[in-house]
């Protein structure tokens, strides 16, 4: 019977990690539905971006209040997870505070976890107030209704409870240490939970042990549950922010990809030796679709972007179109892309690994033309994103589909393009008059 807790722990751990692995596989499968894109360039820049933007949180502090609070929660997440390692070892082997042999180093560790845990609680409370009491504008856009709002609050509640469990566990432990209870070795410094410990003074040793054990078990089960919640949540950014900042754009923001499929066509057109009446090669691949109307037309980095989005809305709040009341919201572009990708993924799951046409697509069913045409391509959304997401590239790909596959540009733009084609300028002026300005006084 003595090994029962160890066995139960091992089972919980295996289920938790197993389920998480399954989620990651699904995530990876869905991201790979996107087209291939070469990301082998500029590796040094990519690593530096990841270090600076994801590890260093450099974009978060552009807005200092949420930035600093976020750094606290981020550090809490990274550092307190060292404690999880100890919990796992203790759980599997029935030890208690296995790292206690570190001595004063252990005191420093536990003390810093405690301080961070307390700060995380403060940060989480402020975040909750910002969302639910102050009601910051960027959390109230139409795309935030329903699940996105609930999701955001759940994350805060879960983090709050996890930190509270951690401190309770330590407080009970400290009390037991002070009572010289066997198994509870004197180890660790408890700058925060020392104020909670007196609450247990009147309780019997067995009751305190129950409190300590319950908090311990709930804390680790909570963490494993949270791990598996990620896939269903915007909170996935805690993992994907790292690859996403690595694979994010390394070229100047103003540089848009030149479509290779078009280059080939243009070269053929400009080639005087090309035979315009030549029969197409029978083995020639079907001409590539220009632009994107659904998630499979996007590249995998764009799909990774969609899963990485944490719906903070910095993009939308910086967007000139959104600021002036237009329908376009770059955050919604990312959320729609993820929702559609999830729908496609579920479709594949339900149809034995094959996507069966469902009569829907990203363009039209999720993202409207009105949104796409409101974009000024100003890159404010790209600049604002703290994890290097590029909503603009998706907007551009969909515009390409509208114009080159559907001829569905607004009529004003068709006039402009007609002028460029005929006169070499977006206005109806004659190219031969291009130098007239030099003779006008």
């Amino acid at each position: 019977m003595g090994y029962l807790p160890n066995i139960v722990f091992a089972i919980i751990l295996i289920i938790g990690i197993g389920y998480f692995t399954r989620n990651i596989q699904k995530l990876s499968r869905n991201i790979k539905l996107g087209k291939d894109v070469d990301t082998s360039d500029d590796k040094a820049q990519r690593w530096s971006n990841m270090l600076r933007i994801a590890f260093g949180q450099s974009k978060m502090v552009v807005r200092p209040i949420p930035g600093i609070l976020h750094i606290i929660v981020y550090l809490g997440f990274v550092i307190i997870n060292l404690e999880v390692l100890e919990i796992i070892i203790d759980g599997l082997f029935g030890t208690h505070r296995i790292f206690a042999f570190l001595g004063s180093g252990y005191d420093v560790l536990i003390a810093s976890f405690e301080v961070l845990a307390a700060l995380v609680i403060v940060a989480v409370v402020v975040f909750w107030i910002r969302r639910n009491i102050i009601k910051l504008k960027r959390f109230l856009n139409p795309e935030m209704k329903g699940w996105p709002k609930t999701d955001a609050n759940w994350i805060l509640y879960i983090e709050f409870v996890l930190m509270l469990l951690f401190l309770t566990m330590n407080a009970a432990d400290l009390q037991l240490q002070q009572m010289d209870v066997a198994h509870y070795t004197k180890a660790g410094a408890f700058p925060i939970s020392q104020f909670i410990a007196p609450l247990f003074q009147e309780m019997s040793i067995s009751s305190i042990i129950i409190v300590e054990r319950v908090a311990w078990w709930l804390h680790i089960s909570g963490i494993l549950m949270f791990l598996n919640y990620l896939y269903y949540s915007k909170h996935l950014h805690i993992l994907l922010a790292f690859p996403n900042t690595y694979y994010g754009k390394v070229k100047p923001k103003g540089q848009f990809e030149n479509l290779e499929a078009v280059t080939n066509e243009v070269k053929l057109m400009m080639d005087p030796s090309a035979d315009p009446f030549a029969a197409p090669d029978e083995n020639a691949p079907v001409p590539e679709k220009f632009g994107a109307s659904d998630v499979q037309d996007l590249n995998w980095v764009q799909l990774l972007n969609a899963y990485t989005c944490t719906e903070c809305g910095r993009c939308t709040s910086e967007c000139p179109a959104n600021q002036t009341g237009k329908k376009l919201s770059p955050r919604k572009i990312m959320m729609d892309t993820r929702d559609r990708l999830e729908e496609v993924g579920k479709n594949i799951d339900a149809n034995k690994g094959q996507f069966v046409a469902d009569g829907k697509q990203l363009l039209g069913d999720y993202i409207s033309q009105e949104e796409l045409w409101a974009c000024t391509t100003c890159n404010a959304c790209v600049e604002a994103c703290p994890v290097s997401i590029d909503p603009l590239s998706i907007i551009m790909d969909m515009r390409q589909y509208l114009v080159m596959e559907q001829s569905a540009a607004p009529s004003d733009l068709n006039n402009m393009m007609g002028n460029i084609e005929n006169n070499g300028a977006p206005w109806p002026f004659n190219q031969m008059d291009r130098l007239n300005w030099s003779k006008e006084s």
């Binding site: 600021q323 237009k326 100003c378 600049e383 030099s438």
Partner: protein, 263 residues
């Protein structure tokens, strides 16, 4: 205006067997738009004064394709690009300067992939360089102490990280450079980019240029400085809309310098 503008074309230089120091890419707005033509002329006056050996393509220049690309017409963009690159490469052009951030971005970033490799600079960068090299001198003169705010063009600033060249030039005028609440990498778009210049805006609560003009006017400027012909139009319209055109001028950096130099 006693001095006539000297605007040599590439064809003329080529016929004389000469190469310019730099090709001035005028752009469609700079060639045809009445307001932007003034910027073009101001820049040429400075080039003339500094005795820069430059040339323009004149009637051989064509739209870079920027608005077509941003509207989604990659096909038309590449047709334009390939044609322009053929002309530029034919003349063996090495360096290009332009007063339009859209042309600047397109030629600098999107032409290399299609065979057009040039050193491309925005006119504010070029002017800054002339100043550093001592080829132009600038006296504050009539702009001394004036409140000037600079509106960052998206395709110069965020798109290509050029923030300081225009600001350095304004400071050289001994003017008081005042920043808007959103400036540099957080500068708000004027509303013209992404081919918006050529269409009606989508339904909303306000036009973008009005929003941006309001931000500019909050700084109580005497001059709103711009570095893009499209921003210039948008901000000028915004100032008119706010009925401030008698007290607030919208001027390109090149115009500021040409005026300061009494050109």
């Amino acid at each position: 205006m006693e001095n006539e503008l000297k605007v040599p074309t590439m064809a003329e230089l080529f016929a004389a067997g000469e190469q310019p120091e730099v090709l001035f890419w005028v752009g469609c707005a700079g060639s045809f738009d009445d307001r932007a033509k003034k910027i073009t002329k101001a820049f040429v006056k400075i080039l003339n004064k500094a005795a820069v050996k430059f040339a323009v393509l004149g009637t051989e220049e064509s739209c870079t394709g920027d608005p077509a690309k941003r509207a989604g017409n990659e096909f038309l963009f590449q047709m334009q690009a390939v044609t322009n690159i053929e002309v530029l490469n034919g003349y063996g052009i090495k360096k290009v300067v332009t007063a339009c951030p859209h042309c600047f971005n397109t030629i600098k970033n999107e032409y290399p992939g299609l065979g057009g490799d040039y050193e491309v600079v925005h006119h504010t960068q070029f002017l800054k360089q002339l100043l550093t090299e001592g080829r132009i001198s600038m006296e504050g003169g009539q702009f001394r102490g004036k409140r000037i705010t600079f509106h960052d063009p998206c395709y110069l600033g965020r798109a290509n990280n050029v923030y300081e060249a225009p600001r350095d030039l304004i400071r050289k005028l001994d003017a008081e450079l005042v920043e808007m609440k959103s400036c540099k990498s957080r500068g708000l778009c004027c509303g013209a980019g992404g081919a918006q210049m050529f269409k009606e805006p989508e339904k909303g609560s306000k036009d973008i240029n009005i929003e941006r003009t309001e931000q500019a006017l909050e700084t109580q400027p005497e001059i709103i400085a711009a570095g893009c012909p499209f921003c210039n139009t948008m901000m000028t319209d915004g100032v008119k809309n706010k009925e401030k055109e008698s007290s607030v001028a919208v001027m390109d950096i090149a115009e500021l310098i040409a005026t300061a130099e009494d050109l």
